[in-house]
């Protein structure tokens, strides 16, 4: 699936409060956009709106040639602070489940496990993992089922310096392969080609 992300004149409210209005963004294959803004400015809400999880007030979110429903169900990955991993299950069980759920392959999953150095963690319960290890597991979920659009919420925050660099390399590889990244960040994202600041 090839897709691009076109956001036109988007307005969004949460709990009766207008977060932003008139937001515009055009993201084409191979491009990354760093989304910045103060705490509570609506970065996460924008990512969730793109994923179709929260309703918008007005405006359009389009995915280029792809149908919105198809793009959302099989064309994008959402990675936030809530990573969807069950603390009572082992890392391996969760990775296998999400890979299958998102239509990934076993070989892609094995490659992702090697790339994120998770071999020794797979037998541990998710509750035993540190925040950084959990984030690596969540990144492995993204790599296990290739999808063009990555919506990332603070993707680097729990990672140490070494893994930040590796995660950036993974994201750069995704862009080289024609992927798109929309990432909410506080620190500058070195590989971003676009920047969007949410202003109230």
């Amino acid at each position: 699936m090839t897709l691009s992300l076109h956001i036109e004149n988007l307005s969004l409210s949460r709990g009766g409060r207008r977060l932003f209005s008139g937001l515009e963004l055009r993201l084409e294959p191979g491009q990354a956009c760093a989304l910045t803004g103060a705490n509570g400015s609506g970065k996460t809400s924008l990512l969730r709106a793109v994923a179709g999880l929260c309703a918008i007030d007005s405006g359009h979110i389009a995915f280029g040639a792809a149908e919105p429903a198809a793009a959302r169900s099989t064309g994008l990955h959402l990675l936030g602070h809530l990573d969807g991993l069950k603390v009572s299950r082992t890392a391996g069980e969760e990775l296998v489940f999400w890979t299958g759920w998102q239509g990934g392959t076993a070989s892609a999953m094995e490659a992702a496990v090697r790339r994120l150095d998770l071999q020794r963690l797979l037998d541990l319960e998710v509750r035993r993992l540190s925040a950084g290890q959990r984030r690596r597991l969540a990144l492995a979920r993204l790599l296990s089922s290739p999808r063009p659009l990555w919506l990332l919420d603070e993707p680097l925050s729990p990672l140490d310096a070494q893994w930040r660099a590796k995660a950036l390399a993974i994201m750069a590889g995704h862009l080289t392969g024609g992927g798109l990244i929309l990432a909410a960040v506080h620190d500058p994202l070195p590989l971003a080609t676009l920047a969007l600041e949410i202003l109230p």
Partner: protein
Amino acid sequence: MSAALQLLRREMAIAWGRGGGLMVTGGFFAGATLLLPLASGPEPERLAQIAPGAAWTVLALSALLGLERLFERDYEDGALDLMAHAALPLEFTCALKCLGHWLATGAPLALLAPLAAIALGASPALAPLLFACALAGGLAFAFTGGIGAALSLGARRGGLLTAVIVLPLFVPPVIFGGGALDAFTAGLPWRAGFALLGAYAAAAVALGPLAMAAACRNALS
């Protein structure tokens, strides 16, 4: 399809461990059933009379256990986000979650219900019908219970709220099943009550997931 099977397997594994597990639901079921003779007196004739109804009522209450966690954990840890934008429609996902809950807790309880009724003095001839009622009723309890669990997403003390929402929905199956059991004991035609129970379970399976998915989307947005 494999995604659906994997979800079912995951839901069963989680339901098995989710403050449920058969030891807990089964233990609750046995304990609550044993309270009855202590409260109503040990005369065998009286106990035998109320045994099927007692087993049936306790079954309905046991079905509430673990229900509040059916969607709540997935809501809290973000798994519901990932399930809401997936190839599988959310309605189908909700149905699979309820089915997994029923397979892990409701179906094993259906085996315990006849045992409990016989232990209280009910006739062993009643066992097959009670088992069938508990299977169909358990399905109805799981799928109507899922509606309550989804509606109380995000509420504090969601478990209590779930029970309050769900207990009125449990009334028809309890009446139909109890009626069928009574009629069978009295030697009267019992098929109508059982058929109504089956119809209610079928309606719950068909319509419940629509309500659950709508409630989940509302909670997520």
